[in-house]
């Protein structure tokens, strides 16, 4: 375990009572009326701080109310703040940051700001943190708050998960920003009755944003989303080309109801879209079943999947590092083994 302390750059002037109970602000993201499961994991992490938890929902006027109604039922939320604006329909860090700055400036009740490691949250939180002159801790796998010293200790992976760093944000950091690794915290559950009180806050409109959203293109798929799928079938560079990648793996993924992933080598070589990359610099997944097909098992790939519950590897090379982490390994030519497996699964 690596120990490291985060030192404050400048102490803001705030006076504390002897013990400060935390009050976390959790950024709850949503798409098409559904709350992101990563945000639900962030909520669980925020609860573990031991104090109040307020959810923040921003979005277009036509979406916010529906999302807030769902969020009110979440276990662990004390209250919800929501803000609607057409500017938040396609949110950008530049347009959402001012709202967060307003909520967190001056005599704010909040002590912690929490989000998932979604692309938007990762882009937003550090921008806000820097404007407020505080650090931000990324991708935490555990969180523990000590109310008497008003310090929060986190663990997080470094060096592609080959080491775990334990870092502490002391009381001199008045606002503690952190993003949460979704696979490390179970998603908060909804209960039958609505508990949390919701209040709306005025959006902070940005009149002349330097950045403009033009369009978003989502890779259409009937398959489960890689980030949250219970089963994943992943392919590596052995899959020859994009057509072979698809024709070999997709039937297997379909037979298993699995999402499709890829190693960085496969993505770099153009066999699969970037959004399918699993690894240190891609997505981190921890499904019930992870099948690595034609993947050697480089450290950077393992970083993205080694917490999977059951790891199965198919590789021609008996010395491939993937077999070190695999629970079940098949040394075979994948072009023979995978079709045979698909046949047996369909039977």
């Amino acid at each position: 375990m690596l120990r490291r302390s985060i030192f404050p750059t400048r102490a803001l002037s705030r006076s504390y009572a002897t013990t400060t109970h935390p009050h976390a602000l959790v950024f709850l993201e949503h798409r098409q009326g559904v709350l992101d499961s990563g945000s639900l994991s962030a909520l669980t992490a925020a609860e573990q701080l031991g104090g109040k938890v307020t959810g923040l929902v921003v979005g277009a006027p036509e979406h916010v109310q529906g999302v807030v109604e769902k969020a009110r039922k979440l276990k662990g939320l004390t209250s919800i703040l929501h803000s609607a604006s057409s500017q938040y329909a396609e949110p950008l860090p530049e347009t959402v940051s001012p709202l967060l700055e307003k909520l967190l400036s001056g005599s704010t009740p909040f002590t912690h700001i929490v989000s998932s490691t979604s692309s938007f949250a990762k882009s937003l939180l550090p921008r806000v943190a820097a404007k407020l002159d505080v650090p931000s801790v990324s991708d935490v796998t555990s969180v523990a708050h000590d109310a008497s010293s008003n310090s929060t200790t986190f663990t997080r992976p470094i060096y592609a998960g080959n080491a775990i760093a334990t870092v502490r944000a002391p009381s001199s950091i008045p606002l503690k920003f952190f993003t949460v690794r979704g696979t490390a915290f179970t998603a908060a559950q909804a209960q039958d009755s609505s508990q949390a009180e919701a209040s709306s806050i005025e959006p902070v409109e940005v009149s002349d944003s330097p950045t403009e959203h033009i369009k978003s293109t989502f890779t259409k798929s009937d398959r489960p989303d890689l980030g949250v799928a219970g089963r994943v079938v992943s392919g590596g560079r052995a899959l020859k080309n994009a057509e072979t990648f698809a024709s070999t793996l997709y039937p297997l993924a379909d037979a298993l109801g699995a999402a499709v992933g890829a190693s960085r080598a496969a993505v770099d070589a153009g066999y699969a879209d970037n959004s399918l990359q699993v690894g240190q610099t891609g997505k981190v997944v921890a499904p019930e079943l992870y099948m690595a097909v034609g993947i050697s098992g480089a450290i950077q790939h393992l970083a993205g999947m080694k917490d999977s519950k059951l790891i199965v590897a198919i590789n021609k090379d008996p010395d491939a590092p993937i077999f070190q982490v695999a629970d079940i390994g098949l040394q075979a030519d994948l072009f023979e083994a995978v079709p045979e497996l698909v046949e047996k699964l369909k039977a």
Binding site: M1, L2, R3, R4, I6, F7, T9, L92, P93, E94, S97, S118, S119, F120, K122, S123, L124, L125, P126, R127, V128, A129, A130, K131, D133, P135, S136, V137, S138, D139, R156, P157, I158, Y159, A160, N162, A163, A165, P210, T211, E212, H213, I214, K215, S216, T217, F218, T219, D225, G227, R264, V267, D268, N274, S275, Q277, Q280, T281, I299, Q300
Partner: protein, 195 residues
């Protein structure tokens, strides 16, 4: 910030010296850190940043006035500045910190970069950094710098096009589940993803 007359682009590429991606790292017995007596090299995502700056120059030719690489690191970090120059950067800045200094935190790096940018007499139009360093895997420096400067930011960029006349960058970004296109008014902070 600068007079509105169309002028040539100045690109700043911050780069970090990090443990090489192929090294099998070991935590030291006191558990205070990782054994750093191993091979180091330029953070791979920063390399992509340097490449992209050079490619922008190839596409825009005389409109790119300068590509400056900068690193904040111990004396040995000069090696990666040399690599950046060899890859096509015109000049480099080394903010030297003592050997065996504790690891720098992103907010400190961002503040230092902000100062450097302020001191560039000819201004900076585009800052291209890697999306994350493969040692601490924090991935926040670019966003922090954008916040400190109040500039436009485009993280996880896979494609960058600059419209010099309009002083805009059209950036395609990798986001969860797909891609996003944003138009950024210069000056802009771009963090690189795979290309």
């Amino acid at each position: 910030m600068r007079p509105s007359a169309v002028r040539l682009l100045n690109i700043l590429v911050p780069v970090k010296r990090a443990v090489d991606y192929s090294v099998k790292i070991r935590v030291n017995p006191q558990q205070t850190g990782v054994d750093l007596n191993v091979k180091h090299s330029m953070n791979p995502f920063d390399e992509i940043g340097v490449e992209e700056a050079v490619r922008l120059r190839e596409r825009h030719k005389d409109q790119v006035k300068s590509i400056k690489a900068v690193t904040i690191g111990p004396p040995k970090a000069i090696e990666i500045l040399r690599s950046a120059l060899a890859m096509g950067a015109d000049s480099s800045i080394h903010v030297e910190i003592p050997e065996n200094s504790p690891a720098l935190e992103p907010l400190a790096v961002a503040k230092t970069l902000r100062e450097i940018i302020k001191r560039q007499k000819e201004g900076v139009d585009v800052v291209i950094l890697g999306k994350q360093a493969i040692d601490d895997d924090l991935g926040v420096t670019g966003q922090m710098l954008a916040g400190l400067l109040g500039w436009s930011q485009a993280t996880f960029a896979s494609k960058v096009e600059i419209d010099h006349a309009k002083k805009e960058a059209l950036v395609t970004r990798e986001i969860d589940g797909g891609g996003e296109e944003v138009r950024c008014r210069l000056p802009v902070i771009i963090t690189t993803d795979l290309r």
